[in-house]
């Protein structure tokens, strides 16, 4: 999924090459996301409440103050009183997605499993597709792709999501987060939690609610290592040597649990949802959770 960084020139040949490289990577990602979204998408979904929209919701007796043009004369003709046709509320919401592009997400303990970044991107794009079907506007955090609708948006989104960052750990970007919108941060959240805390505080300040999805590899959850080991981070910038890796397992798992607690606490404080997803599990379950979390009022 990692498209090689190709120097941006206006040379048509280079453009063409880039386009093809992207086309090579994107359709599978988008297709995977589409396929995943189809498992949840049952049809056009409304807000389940009256409001501005195009679909019929219910009739109600006309009340004083209702404009005369709102009266549904066909319905009213069958009764003595007059009725007004209410439409289902179909308001477009904005969802801003941030997927951690950092090196730490590119880890996969088993070549048969996708790296964490893969799963994160597919899930993000799937929920984007899903919500876009529902009429919401979806965009990427950090002013890179403001929330919009349409298939083109999805393509642009997929393109931007496929970019990798050389950083060790990623930091959520809250720039351009529209007030009262929704946000989704997908990462392993194994780096320093302070930037995340700050970002969440900012978002909460703007009335943004959303979800934190922690994507972890099964090996990170189980720590199946033993013997004398030198652990290196994905970029190799950090390393830790141990003589008995097995001895560290309990303490590592404890620290991981603490980190999850911290994340859950942060989320709760900001009114967000938190969930941990393992790349060994089915993506559909995570998508369902995401859908539920982002639909929540």
């Amino acid at each position: 999924m990692s498209a090689a960084p190709i120097p941006e020139t206006n040379d048509p040949v280079s453009l063409r090459a880039r386009a093809e490289a992207l086309a090579g990577a994107l359709p599978p990602l988008l297709a995977a996301a589409d396929q995943l979204a189809a498992t949840v998408l049952m049809g056009e979904h409304g807000r389940r409440r009256p409001g501005a929209g195009s679909n019929f919701w219910q009739y109600r007796a006309a009340q004083p103050g209702d404009e005369a043009r709102l009266i549904d004369w066909r319905r009213s003709g069958r009764a003595d009183s007059t009725f007004v046709q209410e439409k289902e509320w179909q308001i477009a919401q904005s969802l801003v997605i941030w997927v951690d592009p950092s090196a730490s997400m590119r880890f996969a303990s088993d070549p048969r499993q996708p790296p964490k970044s893969d799963r994160a991107r597919v899930l993000a794009l799937a929920i984007a597709v899903l919500l876009a079907h529902g009429g919401e506007r979806v965009g990427l955090a950090g002013l890179r792709l403001p929330p919009r609708r349409g298939r083109g948006q999805m393509l642009r989104m997929a393109e931007l999501l496929a970019e990798d960052s050389p950083d060790e750990h990623g930091t959520p970007d809250t720039h351009g987060l529209p007030p009262l919108s929704r946000a989704l941060f997908v990462s392993d959240f194994l780096g320093d939690p302070a930037p995340l805390e700050a970002a969440l505080a900012q978002a909460a300040g703007r009335g943004v609610r959303g979800a934190l999805l922690q994507v972890l590899d099964p090996a990170e959850e189980a720590f199946p290592y033993d013997g004398r080991t030198i652990f290196e981070s994905m970029t190799g910038s950090t390393r830790h040597e141990t003589l008995k890796a097995g001895d560290l397992r309990d303490r590592y798992l404890q620290r991981l649990a603490e980190r999850k607690d911290l994340l859950a606490e942060l989320a709760r404080a900001a009114g967000w949802q938190f969930h941990t997803h393992h790349t060994g599990d089915s993506a559909a379950s995570a998508l369902l959770w995401l859908y539920g979390a982002l639909e929540r009022r």
Partner: protein
């Protein structure tokens, strides 16, 4: 060399290295395993975590132990351990290695050779000169040389198929000089001269004996006993019950050697001898060339069969058997009685017995033989057969050997013979004269009560005197003999039964037959018989019991063969004399086996014991295997066997572990293959596809056939006639014949056809010799020929017309019994339709069938005689049946028969005859059975 129990070390000082093992333990403990580098994003969470123990992760104690063991095994391996090192106090003088080298050694000769090699290697190590001697063929001069030089000569050392000769050994022992130690590889059999040689050897130095107790079998020569072949075998030691498989080998008819019979030799517990009787058919028995005990590769377990096992085969042939003749009047009865105990009798027609290649053929009162049989018989006699003829009424009545001497008769005969002492003649029955000295019967006493009342008389002739071998008291020849080629013809001038003389009733008869070598008793090899003869070895046997042809050995005097005990001058094998072959076997008829015993002062050791076994390779392999296991375990401990490459690493390590395991190789046994190889060779040559297609066509259903005459018109009519008959058969009976076939007598097989229709033309060609042979065969085996002269029998008795004469010419060589005009009650009249006459296109002719046996009269009230005859082999007539049967393609009659309705009636009757004929051929005399009489009577009454 430093010894530790049965273990010795070539480099014991290397074992000092074992002291350093505890130090190695400490060092290994101190060194932690190498770290693995792993990418792990969660490393941020690990930062700051300290290992609980400051000490490195220790290598587990059992892994340490494994490594220590590996190092220890390597140290032990390099120290050169040897299991069972030969620590025998070694002498210093020359070493003489003596092996018996008899046939009893042949079975495990390679082991003995390797033992000798080991002894030589030991001698080389200690620098002793050595020499090797085989007692069956002691070297003329014993020279002690470098053991390596002696070892070079070992491959040429082979066991011999005889036993050491005591006399030779004593002479050899006397030539030995100097001091030397002796190792004696004994074959384990007791024999004379062993103690003497042992004493002689002990005079020169110490003697050590190597001998393994094992089962040794010896097969004695087979002999005849009560009509079966008795084979006995000896064994040693006489332990528990043992069964050995006895195989009789010989040539099969295709000339390939095969296993002809097997039997089991059961040794009772404690019994040294076992015997089994083989009851084989004579043809098989006469082909047996050798007996052997399965799985024993030694000359002692092979016994060659020579001519003594053969029983002579005598064929008795008589003319057309008269079923009604009483048995005691049968010309062959007395012959049978006289011969049955000593020879194998074959009876039957001449063409049937000739292929059995009998030694003697007896013709009892047979005058004239069919031409081809006569020629066959003549060939057989010239090839060495003995033809014995007996006179009789038929011979006396025939003109055989009347004017000129028949090649198969020793003398010319006067017409009629003579009768003496009968009611119509003068004189007394004649008695026999004493036998002349030249006569083969000389020495047999002539009983006075043997009389001759009738005989055939020889024509006086210049050669007569030399041919008479027995005569009557008045000088009339009674038995005459004439050599023909390699064989001879003997004529006894009286009958073989008691009709003409009382000779067959006397013991003299048996004695005479014996003298004529007809009932020859098993030959004996008595010294008296063999004296002065020289026998040439044709095939000799080696110690393994394999025969090989040889023509380079000098002849052996008969007395030496009578003496037995094969030796260098007379190896076991087959020896050819003038007229027979003698077998010299490694084991004599009365030989027994006993285990060799040695005085207590002699050290006896086993053959296989005290083998030096260097363990260096095994110890090093163990060290290597342990290190490989250690490698696996270390990888596993370090966590490197997990993950994608783990399985591959395990596989690789296991493969490495499996590599050094030595491959067990099955020893190839080359001896098995020889006899089986030829078994496929004797397959019959397959029939050609055309023959096969013809056979399939002819046997798919009943097929009527006619003989192609070469005249197209006749052949077409015959084919059309048989087609018409086939249609009628299909319509009216359950016989549904396939379309008829015209056959060429020379080319086509006749056996497929139930009957042949043979139209005779005046210029029909005479069939060839092979065609006659086939026709005779066909007639003998139940075939039937319908001869049709198509001349309406105008000349009566079929002789006057050209076709009739042609028929006589054609039928003369055929084996046709006496024929007679068809009787009224012949079964042909009622096999399907009740018929009175048998018209074809003509209706007048008489037809002829095989004559019925005489003497049967119809019972009172029965319309038919009780005749249980066979299908008549020929039906001869001239009514041109095929023309009456013939139909064209549409099924309409082809040729006119008679006039109007009468003609149609005649055609119908001719069809009925055809139906009856085919029914008769297919069902035989079924309708002749009296069971059918009531039904037939009822129908006749209507």
């Amino acid at each position: 060399m430093w010894m530790l129990g049965p273990l010795g070390f070539l480099a014991p000082w290397l074992l000092v290295g074992l002291i350093f093992l505890p130090i190695l333990w400490l060092i290994l403990r101190a060194v932690p395993p190498a770290p693995i580098r792993r990418r792990f994003p969660g490393v941020a969470l690990l930062l700051g975590l300290r290992d609980a123990e400051a000490q490195a992760d220790r290598t587990p104690w059992w892994l340490m132990l494994l490594r220590i063991l590996a190092v220890a095994a390597a140290i032990l391996g390099f120290a050169g351990p040897v299991l069972n090192p030969s620590d025998r106090p070694e002498g210093s003088g020359p070493l003489l290695i003596v092996a018996d080298g008899s046939w009893a050694d042949a079975r495990d000769w390679p082991i003995r050779v390797s033992r000798i090699e080991a002894l030589l290697a030991q001698a080389r190590r200690t620098g002793r000169p050595a020499a090797v001697a085989l007692l069956t063929e002691p070297p003329a001069e014993l020279e002690f040389t470098d053991p390596d030089a002696v070892a070079l000569r070992l491959p040429s050392l082979t066991p011999k198929p005889w036993q050491p000769d005591p006399g030779t050994l004593a002479a050899w022992a006397a030539t030995l000089t100097g001091d030397f130690d002796t190792v004696w590889l004994s074959d384990g059999l007791a024999r004379d001269g062993r103690e003497a040689l042992l004493g002689a050897l002990e005079d020169h130095g110490t003697v050590r004996v190597i001998q393994t107790p094992r089962q040794t079998f010896a097969l004695r020569p087979a002999r005849f006993e009560d009509g079966a072949i008795a084979v006995s075998a000896a064994r040693t030691p006489a332990g528990g019950a043992v069964s050995a498989e006895l195989i009789a080998r010989g040539l099969d008819p295709a000339g390939v050697e095969r296993q002809l019979a097997t039997a089991t030799l059961d040794f009772a517990p404690g019994a040294a001898l076992a015997e089994v009787a083989l009851n084989l058919p004579p043809e098989l028995r006469n082909r047996v060339t050798r007996f052997e005990i399965a799985g024993q590769r030694s000359a002692g377990s092979v016994s060659l069969a020579d001519d003594t096992l053969r029983r002579r085969e005598v064929a008795l042939v008589q003319g057309h058997a008269d079923a009604a003749t009483a048995e005691l009047l049968s010309p062959l009865h007395y012959l049978r009685e006289a011969l049955a105990t000593d020879v194998d009798l074959v009876e039957g027609a001449l063409p049937d017995v000739l292929p059995a290649s009998p030694d003697v053929i007896v013709l009892a009162d047979i005058a004239r033989l069919p031409e081809d049989e006569d020629a066959m018989l003549q060939d057989w006699v010239e090839a060495g057969g003995l033809l014995l003829r007996f006179a009789g009424p038929r011979l006396a009545a025939s003109d055989l050997s009347r004017n000129e001497e028949d090649p198969l008769m020793p003398v010319r005969l006067r017409a009629g013979g003579r009768n003496v002492g009968g009611a119509m003649s003068w004189g007394e029955p004649k008695t026999l004269a004493p036998f002349e000295a030249e006569s083969p019967f000389f020495g047999l006493s002539v009983p006075g009560d043997v009389t001759v009342s009738a005989q055939v008389v020889a024509q006086p002739d210049p050669t007569l005197a030399s041919r008479v071998i027995a005569q009557l008291s008045d000088g009339t020849p009674l038995v005459t003999r004439k050599p023909v080629g390699d064989g001879q013809v003997v004529l006894v001038h009286v009958t073989a039964n008691a009709e003409w003389s009382t000779l067959p009733l006397s013991g003299l008869f048996v004695g005479m037959l014996e003298r004529l070598a007809i009932s020859a008793r098993p030959l004996t090899d008595e010294a008296a018989d063999l004296e002065g003869t020289v026998w040439l070895p044709e095939e000799v046997m080696d110690a393994q019991g394999r025969l090989s042809e040889i023509d380079t050995l000098p002849g052996v005097p008969g007395l030496r063969i009578a003496e037995g005990r094969p030796g260098p001058d007379m190896p076991p094998g087959l020896y050819a004399g003038e007229d027979r072959r003698l077998a010299v076997n490694a084991v004599g008829p009365d030989d027994t086996l006993a285990p060799a015993t040695w005085p207590a002062r002699i050290e006896v050791e086993g053959l296989a014991a005290a083998r030096e076994l260097p363990l260096k390779g095994a110890a090093l392999a163990l060290a290597f295997a342990l290190l490989l296991i250690d490698l696996l375990l270390a990888l596993w401990l370090a966590g490197r066997l997990r993950g994608p490459r783990g399985g591959f690493a395990v596989l690789l390590a296991l493969a490495l572990l499996a590599l050094p395991v030595p491959q067990a190789r099955a020893q190839t046994t080359g001896a098995e293959t020889g006899s089986e190889a030829g078994s496929e060779a004797g397959a019959d040559d397959a029939p050609s596809p055309a023959d096969e297609a013809f056979a399939r066509l002819a046997t798919g259903a009943v097929v009527l056939a006619h003989v192609l005459t070469g005249d197209t018109r006749i052949d077409d009519t015959a084919l059309a006639g048989l087609t018409g008959l086939s249609q009628v058969l299909t319509q009216r009976t359950s016989i549904e014949p396939a379309p008829p076939i015209g056959i060429d007598l020379d080319r086509d097989e006749l056996a497929f056809f139930p009957m042949l229709y043979w139209p005779i033309t005046a210029d029909a060609p005479i069939p060839s010799r092979t065609a006659y042979a086939k026709l005779n065969d066909y007639l003998r085996n139940g075939g039937m020929i319908l001869f049709d002269t198509r001349d309406a029998d105008t000349a009566g008795f079929g002789a006057g017309s050209p076709e009739g004469r042609r028929l006589q010419a054609i039928a003369r060589p055929l084996d046709i019994p006496a024929i007679a005009p068809i009787p009224e009650d012949h079964v042909l009249t009622r096999t399907f339709y009740l018929l009175r006459d048998f018209p074809g296109r003509y209706s007048r002719g008489t037809i002829w069938v095989e004559a019925a046996a005489e003497g049967e009269a119809a019972a009172e009230g029965m319309p038919f005689r009780n005749l249980n005859d066979n299908v008549t082999p020929v039906v001869i007539g001239g009514n041109d049946w095929a023309a009456a049967w013939a139909v064209d393609r549409a099924g309409a009659p082809l040729l006119p028969v008679g006039r109007g309705m009468t003609g149609e009636r005649q055609r119908e009757m001719s069809y009925r005859f055809g139906v009856n004929l085919v029914m008769h051929v297919l069902t035989g005399n079924y309708k002749s059975d009296q069971v059918h009489v009531p039904a037939l009577l009822e129908r006749l009454g209507q």
